[in-house]
Symmetry: C2
Amino acid sequence: MDTSIKSFGSRDKLHKLKNKNSLFLCVIATTLTSRIPGITGAGASPELTDYTPAADVELILRGAPHCLPEIPQTVVEGEAAPTPAVITKAALEIAGIPFLVADAGSAIKPSIPYVNINHKQGGNIETGVAVNNPVEIFNKGKMLGKTLSKLTDHLIIGESTPAGTTTALGVLEALGYDAWGKVSGSTPENPHTLKRQTVETGLKAAGLADDIPLDPFQAVGVVGDPMIPAVAGITAGSKVPVTLAGGTQMTAICAFLKKAVEGFSFEDVSIATTIFVATDETADINYIAQQIAPINIYAVDPGFEKSENPGLQQYTQGVVKEGAGAGGAMLAAKLQGVSIDDIRAKTEDLCRKIF
Amino acid sequence: MDTSIKSFGSRDKLHKLKNKNSLFLCVIATTLTSRIPGITGAGASPELTDYTPAADVELILRGAPHCLPEIPQTVVEGEAAPTPAVITKAALEIAGIPFLVADAGSAIKPSIPYVNINHKQGGNIETGVAVNNPVEIFNKGKMLGKTLSKLTDHLIIGESTPAGTTTALGVLEALGYDAWGKVSGSTPENPHTLKRQTVETGLKAAGLADDIPLDPFQAVGVVGDPMIPAVAGITAGSKVPVTLAGGTQMTAICAFLKKAVEGFSFEDVSIATTIFVATDETADINYIAQQIAPINIYAVDPGFEKSENPGLQQYTQGVVKEGAGAGGAMLAAKLQGVSIDDIRAKTEDLCRKIF
């Protein structure tokens, strides 16, 4: 591969996936955790974060959001950066990769066909009551993973879950990993103190702060989100290689899988993210991942510093960074022979048309 | 193909689909029309017909229904015939064909991952208010068809919709076709008078009895069911050949498509059903279809007269006949080289295990 992909981990397995059929699945969910002021940039206001996942996948499939009058953007100091769903859309369209959506529990349902795994959104983890049916979500995810892996050679799973790094932090900590101050976030000023307080409040509220490590389903139940058991289940059910398309949230999926599935092998599971997560000075995806297993991590650099679009340039300043599987979608397109320059040009083109 | 498949129509196009990848999608829906006593055999009582579609697809994917304590059966004169979902399951499993479910509006949701196209079940067509959002259902179906056709070479679409021949009759009549007394049914005594009265009552209630032919979306809106615009949309959106797996209900899909999509071609659309529908003396699928277009119809004979299972033998007496895409599933398995004797043996085996 060219220099736009950095590989972390011992075994570069990308050559096995070159020019194979791939299928991109975006799993969406919301939680009341994203209503905590200041915890996420994935929406113009805390209430609007409920709409971000549905608007993201509508944008990718239909070219415009239908549940909202406006496209999701992250606004930092008056500058708006577009949702990473634009990058995902550009990469998938240019490479002709099929796009499916699964709902793990989003408050707002997208106006497109989507696979129902779970209907109800997650709670606010400060209450210690986050997901009331993690086993059911995991089992349905497994069924879906098994089915989808009959339809492709390579399953790429992205996510859109506002405040998802906080709920990922919750699961990582509840499972006994050292992740304080290591999860990424959608704003340059990563609110680590707020994220930590939120998780600690939730573990205390559940009366489980002294019982760590928890059982993985209990961890999701008290301080997680519904996306985590859904993506873990799909991964566990797949018979083909899986690329987890996301940032530090995907390490929580790996941590969950390691404890929930006896003897789970990460041989055919990788994480693909953007260079903005991999080089995030406020976070450390590799530090978290290597505590779990020798998981291969790929980081794709879209070269937005070369872009004339001020919104995309914001990404190089630590705004947004990742989401809707943008890193994995770019990796999947590159595996089909698409150049990073073409992905960037198409992303700019979509930004001009959409915004 | 061997003698277990009868072909009606001018052009046998099966050779083009031999050994191609295929994907079987079962579209489920319920309506309050199925609560009319005596109108359908697809459930042990009118109220239980709400559960039949969900139980059918749970049976196919999980090996047992989860929404109901019992497997759907059709009981005629004390003899129970198993749901045709058992045939579908046998054929798909033996051929290794992937199975997906889409909900077009079923009152009871299956406990498996399913694609949401529409949430709400249909009304009782006697009221003249059947489906309130047929355009939205059709458009979402189109999106799904487009996506699924990127994942396979051949899309087979079955359905499970209790009282679906009555709502199909409604749409056929509302579109100006001569279908009185020609639709099939799940019992040997096809209640044609009741079906006709139900449709006529609905058209009158809607104040449209004298305005035939109606617009296709209006036809579904007043005397149809939500499965019809969903399957029509999926078919219209598909870029690969589509086999409509069902009996006379599938002619209503074709009639809808002909009027809703300008210049729609049936070149790559066929109907596949069971020999029990094709030879049904109380119905005439060819008579209906040929009014619409020169649609190819394939009828598969599972040879149940050779079976020692009394429930399957009931099929040869006109009980059940078809459903959950049984005919199309058998056709798809045969296209993969599976013999009809093996499908029958596997069906008998499943009946022994399940019932």
